[in-house]
Subunit: 322 residues, 2 copies
């Protein structure tokens, strides 16, 4: 089964989620409506809902709350992206102007708050106390991740632990909880839902590291924004961290980063230094280690179609180049 | 028992809440830390924690989760104020510059998100599923209230229902849930906690209407910001609504409001028109009706000290002039 095949199989559910999202984002206020609809139309891979749907196959995949859970997860993800763009001062996402660039920080603030409110509104209808606990946790972690990001911007001395905690909060926990909540919504056993949590967590760590690698090695066309955007915005990700560990490179890189108003040539130089330092390969190795851990968890799950689909998703995350 | 007496009796609990707040707002990032500490030091009446503490006297007031609940409610309130100031473009609150005025909208966004994350973090530790449901609801309502506020800014044609829904979401629900959560945390009966919910709800409606009246009748010194700030920021509150109902006034008021760059004299004129229209008295009557409903609920509660304290708080809300 290919990834396209997995999406095709979930076509009806994905459509149901899409219309749930559209309904949730109907807004009475024109700017809010336009901003939300732009975000919706910008699409994205909807990987979190997909993980929830496949995890729900370990129980009864027909339960109606599965679609609501999946939509809630995507809404929380969307809300966090809008606020992240304010923190990172990002003007482009997937080649389109961000809310904060198209309007301003104020509009981005309330658009994020609105999408978030809609997510919470969907949650309020859930009867399961675990669902509330799980979603409280993800909301907490996403916000703490946002704060970590602010705190560590332009901090060229941060350690690996700090980076890993940040991507855990920013990405991995939401993927872990997508699997766990999908599973619990289907009524599957706690043991299975816990394993799925860890699968999603390791997958999410690998996914974010790959994202951070692609930010260096992707082309502007693939990325929809200039290469090295993270670095330009002061965000120290794994490749930068590894490059800064090399004494002979550290001072040269930090020299450029600390200079006032680096030119485009300066940026290209520092990006090349990082790319040629072996930092990309080291990052790939760490990403692969997380991916292997995700795959190992699958051995502990029942042999069934859903398990093969999760393996396919892991393969995709390992190979993706955009 | 006077209001001061009630606070004095709760002195130790209030101190415990204050230090819980201080601990929750310790931030690793200098701006975030300073912004949060300024908010904490600006104080305020801590009316929500007080309501939670008194409501907890209907059960076992010694349970440790009561303090955490009360602190969570105050954190949610603080977070919503910071984002509200961005929506309303307010530069002053209680005579001090707001976060968005002292820094900018970006800092206000992430400071609000941070305080909110800390609240959710405290919630995550709660074992009671009702607590999660209650807090999901208040978060949803506060965010929806924020959106209502944006939607209705500069809408001079809005109806009374719309205003009442907005203040319900913005203020009354949080007060209602402060009472309910305080009660539930103390392990009191569901019947009592439900009555306390309604007491808090009616009290909150009256409280916000009084706030909206004070914005017109208070002096700049009392308010810590210019009189008529709501109106100047495009926020149609109850006195404006009532004044606009009078045909002979409607066109004169809207004429000034719709003019480009009204002068300070224009503002003073429109504020006088509203104050002299009988709108303040009409607003006071509606506030009193809500307050009476709050007091009526107290008749259905056990005759005990806590009930007398809640009566005293209602009296205070009815009489407060700052």
């Amino acid at each position: 089964m290919t990834l396209a095949g997995i999406y095709a199989e979930q076509k009806n559910n994905m459509k149901a989620i899409e219309s749930r999202l559209e309904k949730a984002l109907e807004a009475p206020h024109p700017i809010l409506h336009e901003a939300s609809m732009n975000l919706l139309r910008a699409g994205g891979k909807r990987i979190r809902p997909l993980l929830a749907l496949i995890s729900a196959q370990y129980g009864d995949p027909k339960r109606p709350e599965i679609i609501d859970s999946a939509a809630t997860l995507e809404l929380i993800h969307m809300a966090s992206l809008v606020h992240d763009d304010v923190i990172d001062d990002s003007d482009l996402r997937r080649g389109k102007p961000t809310v904060k660039a198209q309007w301003d920080n104020r509009v981005a603030m309330y658009t994020g708050d609105f999408i978030f409110a809609r997510a919470i509104e969907l949650i309020s209808g859930f009867d399961r106390p675990e669902a509330h606990r799980i979603l409280s946790r993800v909301i907490r972690d996403l916000s703490l991740g946002e704060i970590d990001q602010i705190k560590e911007l332009y901090n060229w001395k941060q350690n690996l632990r700090c980076y890993l905690l940040r991507i855990k909060r920013k990405t991995a926990i939401l993927m872990a909880l997508s699997c766990q909540l999908g599973a619990l919504s289907s009524g599957c056993t706690l043991a299975v839902s816990r394993r799925l949590y860890y699968y999603g967590y390791f997958l999410g760590m690998s996914y974010q590291i790959t994202d951070d690698i692609l930010d260096f090695v992707g082309t502007e066309k693939q990325l929809g924004k200039p290469a090295g955007s993270d670095l330009r915005n002061g965000n120290v990700t794994l490749p930068t961290y590894y490059a800064l560990q090399k004494n002979e490179l550290h001072d040269r890189i930090v020299g450029i980063l600390k200079s006032e108003n680096p030119s485009e040539d300066d940026w290209k130089r520092v990006i090349s230094l990082i790319k040629e330092s072996g930092a990309i390969q080291a990052s790939e190795r760490l990403s692969d280690r997380y991916l292997q851990k995700a795959k190992n968890i699958l051995d502990e799950l029942p042999v069934k179609k859903a398990t093969r689909s999760l393996m396919e998703i892991a393969e995709y995350v390992g190979k993706r180049r955009y």
